[in-house]
């Protein structure tokens, strides 16, 4: 069956089976392989994408459910070239090692900080506790998020 939605600002129309997850659709039909799959049962958060502004686990959502939605993946968060302030902060604070959890961390934090640019450390920690990282111990990820808040605050101010 056909499903139409928007990915990273681009209208797409994909032929999917009823049981295909949004994660598989993004990765294998649309070739957006930045979204990773670490468990397929909703625990690890590696597959997190932004659907209509909310961070969503794309392994728990069917592609057909994305009908009409606006979906943003890590590729959509990235600039043509260079790094966004959030990505820069991850690099500066060594918020990634193997990089496998990173796209999910970035999408989750982008959704959070876009809504709540003043989020406290505790709030950030709490939200990120739904995303597993086996490499970093999380501490540098939290530091990166704290550091990136300024850019989101400024973006809000600019609006």
């Amino acid at each position: 069956m056909k499903v139409d939605f928007e990915v990273n600002g681009r209208a797409v129309s994909v032929d999917v089976t009823p049981r295909m997850t949004l994660a598989d659709c993004l990765r294998h039909e649309l070739n957006l392989t930045g979204t990773h799959i670490g468990c397929e049962h909703g625990v690890c958060g590696a597959c997190t994408v932004i659907v209509n502004g909310d961070a969503v686990r794309s392994c728990l959502m069917l592609a057909v459910q994305a009908k009409g939605a606006e979906v943003t993946t890590v590729e959509g968060l990235s600039l043509e070239e260079g790094l966004t302030p959030l990505q820069e902060a991850f690099k500066r604070h060594h918020g990634l090692q193997c990089g496998f959890c990173t796209p999910g961390m970035l999408t989750t934090l982008h959704a959070l900080l876009s809504e709540e640019p003043e989020a406290s450390e505790e709030r950030i920690r709490d939200v990120i506790s739904g995303n597993l990282c086996r490499c970093t111990g999380y501490i540098p990820i939290i530091e990166a998020a704290m550091d990136a808040r300024a850019a989101y605050q400024q973006a809000r101010g600019d609006k």
């Binding site: 049981r19 990765r27 294998h28 957006l32 392989t33 930045g34 979204t35 990773h36 799959i37 670490g38 468990c39 397929e40 049962h41 625990v43 690890c44 590696a46 993946t73 890590v74 590729e75 990235s78 790094l83 990505q87 991850f90 690099k91 500066r92 060594h94 990634l96 090692q97 193997c98 990089g99 496998f100 959890c101 990173t102 796209p103 970035l106 920690r125 709490d126 990120i128 506790s129 995303n131 597993l132 990282c133 086996r134 490499c135 970093t136 111990g137 999380y138 501490i139 540098p140 990820i141 939290i142």
Partner: protein, 766 residues
């Protein structure tokens, strides 16, 4: 003449941001599941649902009839003997315990591969698994130590015992040590079965080129060259006909990249059907199929003099290695025996480490193999001994920690030899990180909190120490090539598993070539780059690869000198080389890029059979809630001396990440089996690794007071140390917190329910 190879040292030791981050942060990393080939088939594995049994029948006809299903391969598709997985560190007695790459008559663990289904998509292959009929007659499952070691049920009917090897670690006169002891402590401890759990599950893509007779395996990690040799032998191909390609890897921690049964089956399928075959493990499968580790117990004693000086250590260690001896399944066993003495001066040692088989998933290594277990055992003994001897816990350690004057310090000799019977700590003074931690933790100011009940929680503290082996030999190779645009391409045999290898090798190359890092491009891990290489295991990539880079850099500059001299019509010695330019006394000069067209290509290598020993200490401050058994880590400080810091940022990342993994080991991660040998842990909701909210405080301090004398860089391995002391230090802090109740934790994990029970039992006794 000015030395042309003296490093400027502008990158080494710095806080250098990683070059690999750019692609990872933009979602442009390339992990195995990100690649696909036209016409590829997908594999799914049918795995034993019983822990132990005899296979009666396999009927795949219904599965084969399904649309999109192309083949079901079983043991019947393999002519003659079923090949077994080779050992990386063989010893004389383990031969009969090797794992056949697919089960034929018998299954010996829950999850053992029985059949491989090949279909158009992964979903279809998985669907088809449900339609393969397998009949297995159950045999009694052997799960725990006493049953296994009784040999009442032999897991390998052609052997006489379930104990493939007993390693003995020996040193000094043990009888005399115990005969002369003022005090002896003896106790039993145990650590639970765990796994490394990288966030990316395993996977491989096998491709066969029928015209060239060439097999390409993508998804290599850790040991691309060893695995290539293994695969070539098993497939009856010359080594050059097999390539292992390394992509980005979502974590390894010792478990990923060993040769697994699936590797061979996928290659076999690719050749048989002349199709690319891809397989991605799902998480449930991962938990039952990837190497397990850490299931160890012991009964050991330590002898002390009146002054608290350790005189000797003896006893038995028991390691449940699961159903088969896997390539490095014996590493944790022999390590536990050799490294249990850790940072302490122990003149007499006699430890027997018994490896026994059981009907559980075969074991391999997980970060700090055998060392984490041994450290837990000895640190628990040390704290209990301090209490009995009436000596302050820190003071007892000061009297026994190794000093600089004693280096190199020989550890116990381990037999049967697996190639590394004898070893010695190479350099260092173990008192220095210890005192650093005492100071940084503010021990003196916090000492009064020990055992206190504050706001309903008991507070406790502890400091423990560890050693970490690194720089596993024998050799590492790199190749450097000067490209037309003046960039230096560096091809390394070391493989990347998320540890920032590209950055670290580029830093070293840049410093020794005196070039900006942007002019170095690192390629690694694939067998296509080099004729020979080794990989990343045993904390070796930086030391072995890094020193090979130095060798190559020197050779490249040597070539540059020759070619530049020829251009200027001078003798090579007449030139001075700095920062990529060769200069003559008369003011003429040749930049590096100019000689690029001469085709400059050099090989560098570093040979070293002598391991390095990083060492350090860690502090934990805990608060224990007696009502729930929940433990909070209020502060954690770890200091280690790594000989030479290459990149302080990635080093801290390794230590911190390892420490937090260690908290998972201590508190929550456990691969639980029932009596029938069924693994009860099937998802990340059951296997509880640390979350962002769990352990917000870890402080790391890195020292470089004692460079390793074994290599020109002076570096030591550093990826594993952070995890080694966590069990012992945290358990001691918990014992300290609950000292008024007399609670002594002896079994990990310290889950809330176990801690609560310990407290309730202690109260009932009182």
């Amino acid at each position: 003449m000015k030395s042309s190879t003296h490093p400027q040292n502008t990158y080494i030791g710095g806080h250098v941001e990683r070059v690999e981050d750019y692609r990872f942060l933009r979602g442009e990393g390339q992990y195995l599941d990100d690649i696909s080939r036209p016409g590829q088939w997908h594999a799914a594995f049918l795995r034993s649902s019983l822990a132990h049994g005899t296979i009666r029948k396999i009927d795949a006809s219904a599965a084969l009839a399904m649309p999109g299903v192309h083949a079901v391969m079983t043991a019947a598709d393999i002519e003659g003997n079923i090949p077994t997985i080779p050992f990386r560190r063989p010893n004389p007695t383990i031969g009969p315990y090797a794992q056949p790459i697919i089960a034929r008559e018998k299954v010996r663990y829950f999850g053992e591969p029985i059949a491989m289904v090949l279909a158009d998509t992964a979903e279809l292959a998985e669907d088809a698994l449900q339609h393969v009929v397998v009949e297995i007659d159950a045999l009694p499952a052997v799960i725990e130590r006493v049953h296994a070691m009784s040999d009442a049920v032999l897991i390998f009917e052609d052997t006489k015992t379930n104990i493939p090897t007993v390693f003995n670690a020996e040193k000094g006169d043990i009888e005399a040590a115990f005969a002369g002891a003022h005090y002896v402590i003896r106790d039993q401890f145990a650590t639970q079965r765990q796994t490394a759990l990288p966030m990316e599950t395993r996977g491989l893509l096998a491709e066969w080129d029928a015209q060239l007779g060439q097999l390409t395996v993508s998804g290599a990690a850790k040991l691309p060259f060893f695995n290539r040799t293994t695969m070539a032998n098993m497939m009856n191909l010359p080594e050059e006909a097999v390539d292992y390609i390394e992509l980005d890897v979502g974590g390894g921690f010792g478990a990923r990249g060993e040769f697994y049964p699936e590797d061979y089956l996928l290659a076999l399928g690719a050749r048989k059907f002349n199709r690319p075959i891809k397989w991605i493990e799902d998480r449930r499968e991962h938990l039952m199929a990837i190497g397990h580790s850490r299931e160890a117990s012991c009964d050991v004693e330590l002898a002390f003099s009146k002054e608290g000086v350790i005189l000797g250590m003896r006893g038995d260690l028991y390691i449940n290695i699961g159903a088969y001896v896997r390539p490095n399944g014996m590493t944790p066993v022999r390590n536990a025996a050799q490294f249990m003495s850790g940072p302490y001066r122990i003149p007499a040692i006699d430890l027997d480490a018994h490896a026994f088989v059981s009907n559980k998933t075969p074991a391999g290594t997980y970060r700090g193999p055998g060392r984490y277990e041994g450290c837990f055992f000895i640190e628990r003994l040390m704290d209990q001994a301090a209490g009995a001897l009436g000596i302050d816990r820190l003071e007892l350690r000061r009297r026994n920690l190794l000093t600089h004057e004693e280096m190199p310090y020989p550890l116990a000799t381990v037999l049967p030899s697996d190639g590394r019977a004898e070893t010695q700590c190479d350099s260092g003074d173990h008192r220095e990180p210890f005192e650093t931690v005492v100071k940084e933790s503010n021990w003196a100011e916090k000492a009064h909190l020990q055992g206190q009940l504050i706001d309903g929680r008991y507070h406790g503290m502890a400091i423990g120490s560890f050693i970490e082996g690194g720089a596993s030999g024998p050799q590492e190779n790199v190749r450097m090539q000067l490209e037309a645009d003046g960039i230096v391409s560096l091809y390394a045999g070391s493989s990347a598993i998320g540890q920032g290898l590209e950055t670290v090798l580029a830093q070293i190359a840049a410093d020794y070539l005196e070039l900006p890092m942007e002019r170095i491009r690192v390629f690694h891990g694939s067998t296509t780059y080099l004729k020979q290489g080794w990989g990343s295991y045993g904390s070796r990539a930086t030391v072995m690869g890094g020193n090979a880079v130095i060798d190559a850099a020197k050779k490249l500059l040597g070539e540059f000198r020759l070619h530049a001299a020829k251009r200027l019509g001078l003798a090579p010695e007449e030139l001075t080389i700095t920062e990529g330019v060769a200069r003559a006394a008369d003011g003429r000069s040749v930049p590096l890029v100019e000689v690029a067209k001469d085709g400059i290509n050099v090989d560098g290598f570093f040979k070293n059979q002598t391991p390095t020993y990083t060492y350090g200490s860690a502090f934990a401050h805990v608060a224990v809630d007696p009502g729930t058994g929940h433990i909070e880590i209020l502060d954690y400080v770890v200091a280690d001396d790594v000989g030479r810091i290459i990149n302080s940022m990635t080093l801290h990342g390794q230590v911190m990440g390892a420490a937090v993994q260690g908290f998972g080991s201590v508190f929550s991660e456990e691969l639980v089996y029932n009596d029938e040998g069924q693994l009860l842990v099937g998802s990340l909701a059951d296997y509880l690794i640390p979350l962002a909210t769990d352990y917000p405080v870890v402080r790391c301090i890195s020292l470089e007071n004692y460079p390793s004398p074994t290599n020109p860089l002076g570096a030591k391995g550093a990826g594993e140390g952070g995890i080694i002391p966590v069990g012992g230090v945290v358990a001691n802090a918990v014992a300290n917190a609950l000292s008024s109740l007399g609670v002594q934790p002896k079994i990990l994990p310290l889950s809330p329910s176990r801690v609560w029970e310990l407290i309730e039992d202690a109260r009932a006794r009182a």
